[in-house]
């Protein structure tokens, strides 16, 4: 007598249970797929840059590539699109590509380097930015916020596991919801209601900023205010000291390059006079000694461009405006990149002897 209602109840309970299991299964399946096949879902900037880099490489697979790794400083300051053509010693046309990333310090640079390896990108040269603030330590949530499963070994090796994993897992609470627009952009762009990552992250054909973050001009008052804020937050530079994890990450990249015969150029990007004043004499000595040691150990020329630009070339003391980016790019191309690409060994020797510390007359400190 009660069999039919009981069967119906059981069927409804089964439906609800299977729906829940189905949802979990779909979430897990999507997670697993996206971790290895769609890193751009978690890292918009990386997705945009790698897509453009692949386009350039597809145009001419034999063309040698100089990869530039670094933070938003070099991200805004280096505009490869406006450089004159770079020639190698053999007379080949080289491609310089800006593969920087917001807030990228030594560990995130290592992650980017590993990602390039996984993508099959073979750099002929590497330009590695050294950012003094980030060399004192990176926040784990920055890297964990953009990392995917293949990045986990580096993430967990270099950051406290608990903190890194918490951010990593939190980013995966509801993947279908979080990445719905990115998924639609990939598989059904007509249904997407948000711009794609390549539209949101506006970059030029060689990774230079094409209107994404680089301002054309900042009023003096704003510049002064933002610079003062940055300088106030950078008082820890008075006691600059290399962080052990950062040192290990830098050395890992340089070791990799040495093993693969990839000449590397070390670059200290421009800072305004207000920011340069934040360093105490002792911290400057420590920074210079460390950079010089790295340069010698790995035969990597060191370019100290910290004083290359005027204060008006900056928006906040360490990020440039367009004029600053143009000045920096042209100077880097002429005085560092071209000599480096033509003859990396000579450039390294010059650097070791101090002959590549430019402009002449401006001391390191």
């Amino acid at each position: 007598m009660h069999a039919r209602p009981q069967r119906r109840r059981a069927a409804r309970k089964a439906d609800l249970l299977w729906t829940l299991l189905g949802l979990v299964a779909l979430q897990v399946a999507f997670l697993l797929w996206s971790e290895w096949n769609a890193p751009e879902f978690y890292d918009l900037e990386y997705g945009a840059r790698i897509a453009i880099l692949h386009e350039r490489l597809a145009e001419n697979p034999q063309r040698p590539v100089a990869i530039v790794l670094g933070s938003s400083r070099i991200g805004q300051a280096f505009l490869p699109e406006m450089m004159p053509p770079l020639k190698t010693a053999e007379g080949e046309d080289a491609l310089a590509f800006n593969f920087s990333h917001l807030m990228s310090g030594p560990v995130m640079n290592l992650i980017a380097w590993r990602r390039l390896e996984r993508e099959g990108v073979k750099a002929r040269w590497l330009v590695l930015e050294l950012v003094p603030t980030l060399m004192m330590g990176e926040h784990p949530s920055t890297a964990a916020g953009v990392a995917t499963a293949p990045d986990l070994p580096v993430l967990l090796e270099y950051f406290p596991r608990g903190r890194a994993l918490r951010t990593y897992v939190k980013n995966r609470a509801n993947p279908w919801y979080q990445h719905r627009q990115a998924l639609l952009q990939r598989w059904a762009p007509a249904l997407a209601t948000q711009a794609s990552h390549t539209d949101l992250v506006k970059l030029g054909p060689c990774g230079g900023d094409a209107g994404w973050n680089l301002p054309n001009h900042v009023p003096d008052e704003d510049r002064r205010r933002m610079t003062a804020r940055v300088a106030a937050g950078a008082q820890f530079l008075r006691a600059w000291k290399i962080d052990a994890r950062a040192d290990r990450a830098i050395r890992t990249v340089l070791e990799d390059c040495r093993r693969q015969n990839i000449p590397t150029l070390l670059l200290l990007t421009p800072e305004s006079s207000e920011l340069r004043a934040c360093y105490s004499p002792d911290s400057l000595v420590a920074l210079d000694d460390y950079c010089a040691r790295l340069s010698r150990e790995f035969q990597a020329p060191l370019i100290n461009a910290r004083a290359w630009l005027d204060d008006e070339d900056f928006s906040d003391g360490h990020h440039v405006v367009r004029r600053g980016a143009e000045r920096f790019t042209l100077r880097l191309a002429k005085d560092a990149l071209q000599p480096f690409l033509s003859n990396p060994l000579q450039a390294a020797e010059k650097s070791a002897s101090g002959a590549l510390q430019i402009p002449p007359g401006i001391p390191l400190r």
Binding site: R8, R12, K13, W18, T19, L20, L23, A190, T193
Partner: protein, 491 residues
């Protein structure tokens, strides 16, 4: 005089009530659900729902939540008084008084500025230079719905179709029950009040049914309606910039949007009520399968159309007084229907147009009765398809009046639809609109004659479960970055 929307000092917030598709509502509802089924006492559950409903409305505006309670209490007392009277004329007097008060409340909040502005336009056109001004009023969300429920309750008590409810909390719950409070369905007292008294036990079947309604509602609202809005809004904002094909597509998109939005809301309301052990009336019955305009109004916003039939059309005389009286009653009823939607001449025009179409249908039906050949031809498959196409085409064009802000905008829109004009590219790919139309068509086809039930029953539970999971994921995937409010909140 009244709290301005967005004035926190006076209980106002610059937002709508909690949207059914928001995380805020999810959190609120889960708490209510948990507390509700944890309580074994009926009276406690009633009070819990009352508090929850008040909170639901008060998150938007505290003072207007108090207005809802006040208006409901007022009607409760009136009905009790009417129920105690034995004299027919006294009962009629109380009813008239009650109806007048309810209509006055509705007119004051919703229509007084409309009438003042219209009067001002008229006086200006006649040469008067004075300024009547307008009142600083915000329209309480849901006032059209709960006022109509109060009216139908008073009339049912008067006609003795339902006894006057003695329990004040029960009556309050009938009016303020949050699933239907702000956008319907319009509930009848004789359907809802007995449910409060019934003992409720947790039921997995009911839970399953409720969740199914909610899922379907969310899909219609988020994946269909909100996607269509992204096509509709830019085109209706500047119809003079677009060519005929885009205007037709946008009109089609609006047909899909308004159905997805409103029936989606109704489904969520029905599903939410089921989870609390209450059954609300269905508001839509596959309206886009209608083959004539009368059939359409029997399927579209059924709680409103049946309300208008029972409490306006029939008391006016219905179709009992001969042809011309029937036509008059149809015209009045549909004009009120249009006006109910909002204080604008465009809504009045919408109602008028539908009233006229019902008259034409009535007349044509009468004409066909004497012509068997025509009648037979219209009932063949091609004939039915033709009638369906005509009905849908008419509804689509009438929605242009519904959506347009002014007669001139509607005129521009309709004029350009029927001329060989070119214009800007569509704001989104036409494929999106056609896909949505295809999905809704498939849904209607499956629903027709409950076709889907036969297949559904044969599927094993894992397949059904996976199907629901896929539908949930599809809803999440297709929801736009910014979701829209519910269209019928403004009514």
């Amino acid at each position: 005089m009244y709290p301005r929307r967005g004035d926190p000092a006076r209980g106002g917030k610059d937002t709508d009530v909690m949207l059914f598709c928001s995380l805020q509502f999810l959190g609120f509802f889960l708490l209510v659900l948990l507390a509700y089924w944890s309580m074994p006492w009926r009276w406690a559950r009633v009070w819990l729902l009352l508090i929850a409903s008040f909170y639901f409305y008060a998150t938007w505006n505290l003072y207007l939540a108090a207005l809802v309670l006040g208006a409901a209490t007022y009607n409760y007392l009136l009905a009790l008084w009417m129920g105690r009277l034995t004299s027919a004329w006294a009962r009629r007097a109380v009813l008239t008084f009650g109806l007048t008060q309810n209509v006055a409340l509705l007119v004051h909040f919703k229509y007084v500025n409309f009438f003042l502005e219209s009067l001002q336009s008229l006086l200006t056109s006649l040469g008067f230079s004075g300024n009547l001004g307008t009142l600083n009023i915000i329209v309480p969300i849901g006032i059209s719905f709960y006022t109509f429920e109060a009216i139908n309750y008073l009339m049912d008590v008067y006609w003795k179709k339902t006894p006057a409810e003695r329990s004040w909390p029960n009556f309050l719950l009938f009016i303020t029950f949050f699933p239907h409070l702000v956008a319907g369905p319009i509930v009848r007292a004789k359907d809802f009040l007995p449910q409060i008294q019934r003992r409720k036990r947790w039921s997995w079947e009911r839970c399953h049914l409720g969740l199914r309604f909610i899922l379907l509602g969310l899909f219609k609202k988020l994946a269909i309606a909100d996607q269509m809005a992204l096509f509709v809004d830019p085109v209706f904002a500047a119809p003079e910039s677009f060519g005929a094909s885009v205007l037709w597509l946008a009109a089609l998109a609006y047909v899909l949007q308004v159905y997805g939005n409103f029936s989606g809301y109704s489904d969520i309301a029905v599903g939410t009520a089921h989870l609390l052990g209450y059954k609300l009336v269905q508001n839509f019955n596959m309206p886009y399968l209608a083959v004539n305009i009368a059939d359409f109004w029997r399927r579209w916003h059924m709680s409103l159309s049946s309300w208008l039939r029972d409490y306006l059309f029939v008391p006016l005389g219905g179709s009992r007084g001969g042809r011309w009286l029937t036509y008059r009653n149809l015209l009045i009823t549909m004009t009120v229907c249009g006006l109910w939607h909002g204080a604008s001449w465009m809504f009045v025009l919408f109602g008028l147009v539908h009233g006229l179409s019902l008259i034409v249908h009535h007349a044509f039906r009468g004409w066909c009765k004497e012509r068997q050949v025509v009648r037979a031809a219209l009932e063949t498959t091609p004939g039915t398809v033709l009638r369906w196409a005509f009905t849908m085409g008419f509804f689509m064009l009438s929605l242009v009046l519904f959506r347009a802000h002014s007669l001139s905008q509607a005129g521009t829109y309709l004029g350009r639809m029927f001329s060989a004009t070119e214009g800007l590219a569509p704001p989104r790919a036409a494929l999106v609109v056609l896909l949505a139309a295809g999905v809704l068509a498939a849904g209607h086809w499956l629903g027709y004659g409950n076709r889907w039930l036969a297949w559904y029953a044969k599927l094993p539970a894992p397949v059904r479960g996976l199907g629901y999971a896929c539908m949930t994921v599809a809803t999440i995937l297709l929801m736009p970055v910014t979701t829209q409010t519910f269209i019928y909140f403004q009514f």
